[in-house]
Symmetry: C2
Subunit: 361 residues, 2 copies
């Protein structure tokens, strides 16, 4: 059966392993998050690295998002080609080849990028001048994650001053990322999140005090949106996983609907209590742990490359049965697939190619 | 620069992250493994799940392999379409949709599949009759890995007897997989490997004693080829990782040349001793641990989705520098990419699409 022929059919007819997206659940998640931010100072700039699908980005923008966020230049290109208007690349773009490609995207539309060093800013300035554009930039501030970013406070101010002397750059504000604060102790999480937010907003005030306008102070993720999104001075949060959801975010307290699952077929029932499926590590990522089954009585006990091991507790299951599995980490599971099967009420509404999969350049 | 324009250029001009394949090293690995098996009873049936590239499969066949192995139907389709003649799908194919697709491949060429149950064999028999082909099958025997497979000995014999009564099936032999024996204690590894081999070969003899011809007793992987490939009665080994190699196989004693690397760019140098690259978990798998840098003085300390964290020991490194990284697990890293940049003496010979990536159905 072709993908075209699958449209309108029940999801049980989809060959496995396959990536399912329940669009009703995804849209409900989009509405719910938008509702949380209605009337607030802070807006949404959803991160597209998780869902990787322009159709979802459009829904997010229709629901009031101020733009979308991408992790990489290649991802931004896919979303721009799909007609998405405002894109923040939440990353440094380094090297002549990539900077020139970035400037080409900036010629085509509203693309903002992060910088953390004057050298990189100078390279970007030169390329922007060559391309005849003014490059919008955010200064990435290290708010404690110790990944990229200039230290908060004076070093950030010094960088902004340096940038202001370079032609063809427009300083738009700051970015700090604290979304990686996956902590079970909610008090500690709130304390550390507030500390990260404070570093970013204090840096914002310092820079504003020096006479610069700071339009954007972007931060956060699905894991911290309720904290970061209500911290005065943060202008937008980069929520990603909330649309599709995964077991890892659920474990850490995010109670949004599970929109994405992987459907697998039981290929072997070698002994009581044990079954094997056709969905292994090439269909379900394991970087945050093992995925979980939707139905009760089934536990994923291990994954090989193309085999999934299930423990079966007090229920029947046979070779040929299809089961749905919730990814442990959606961001790394979704790009293992070439396409989503988009469902409404368990029937295939459409099949969407994930053009941004593998777009890590 | 287009991929076409890159041909003939030095690898330093390749945008990052990218998957590099040093074809001289890969060919040397293919020759070395073929040399080991020259004149032996046991032959090579290399597993294509690792490299996923028909061009390499052709080199392996030219070097004397009796056929190739695939993990999934979708993978087999890609290799058959690329003209590869003899393909073993080392897996059970379950469900009407997949079995019909399998029979279509069998109509086109020499494709063998594994079975472990009479019910699955009956489904295959019916589909083969409908398609007007005789389906070549191996019986998968559980030799201790406890994944798929019928128990060794009498249960396997009973299954062969049952299969022999079904039309349109040709029983060709047995498969047992013990390649997952990654053990540092070489005596224990040899003992457990010999035990797995013995279970398979004893089952072979039992079935032959019942009057059935057993042409194939296929087993092994790169990790056990020297043991399994010299065990009397094993007919071929399914070596995969030896061509491309990875750090995990090297750690467990396989000293073949490193043909595959991921090239990354340093995007941030936030403080002494620390650097950040553009190659994270979406470019380097972590299921077997962290990857390692080719050059001394650099250690991958963590991977985020699109960032790699490096520790820098007593050497210079700057933002913009390119570094090469050895995957920890080639089988799960290679399919994160859409293409190989194939090198000869550090220059791009060609760019090869990895059409079998994501082919997990």
């Amino acid at each position: 059966m072709t993908y075209e022929q699958l449209i309108g059919r029940h999801k049980s007819e989809i060959d496995t392993p396959a990536l399912l997206l329940d669009m009703d659940v995804a849209e409900a998640n989009i509405r719910r998050m938008a509702e949380f931010f209605r009337g607030r100072e802070c807006k949404l700039r959803p991160h597209a690295k998780t869902h990787k699908l322009p159709r979802i980005a459009r829904r997010q923008l229709e629901a009031g998002a101020v733009g979308i966020t991408c992790a990489k230049l290649g991802e931004a290109r896919v979303f721009q080609e799909a007609g998405i208007g405002s894109i923040l690349i939440a990353n440094e773009i380094v090297g002549v080849t990539k900077i020139r490609a970035l400037v080409r995207l900036m010629c085509e539309g509203d693309v903002t990028v992060c910088v953390e060093s004057l050298e990189n800013a100078a390279d970007l300035s030169a390329a922007a001048a060559e391309g005849g554009v003014v490059a919008p930039i955010l200064v990435e501030v290290n708010v404690g994650l110790n990944r990229c970013g200039v230290p908060p406070g004076k070093p950030a101010l010094e960088l902004v001053r340096g940038i202001s002397r370079l032609p063809n750059l427009r300083f738009c504000g700051l970015m700090g990322y604290e979304g990686g604060l996956f902590l079970k102790n909610l008090e500690e999480k709130a304390r550390r999140c507030r500390e990260a937010n404070r570093l970013l907003v204090d840096t914002r005030r310092l820079i504003e005090g020096d006479g610069f306008e700071v339009q954007i102070a972007s931060a956060g993720g699905s894991n911290t949106f309720a904290l970061t999104g209500t911290y005065p001075g943060i202008t937008d949060v980069q929520v990603g996983s909330y649309v599709s959801m995964d077991d890892h975010n659920r474990e850490y307290g995010l109670d949004y609907g599970q929109a994405v699952t992987v459907v697998a077929t039981v290929i072997s029932r070698p002994e009581p209590g044990r079954a094997v499926t056709d969905a292994g590590m090439k269909s379900l990522s394991t970087d945050a742990g093992l995925p979980v089954c939707v139905e009760p009585g089934l536990t994923v006990s291990a994954l090989n490359e193309e085999h999934g091991h299930l423990r079966v507790h007090g229920r029947e299951i046979r070779a040929g049965d299809k089961i749905e599995i919730i990814p442990r980490h959606g961001c790394t599971t979704i790009p293992l697939f070439d396409r989503y099967f988009i469902l409404r009420r368990d029937h295939v509404e459409s099949v969407a190619e994930i053009r941004a999969r593998g777009a890590s350049q």
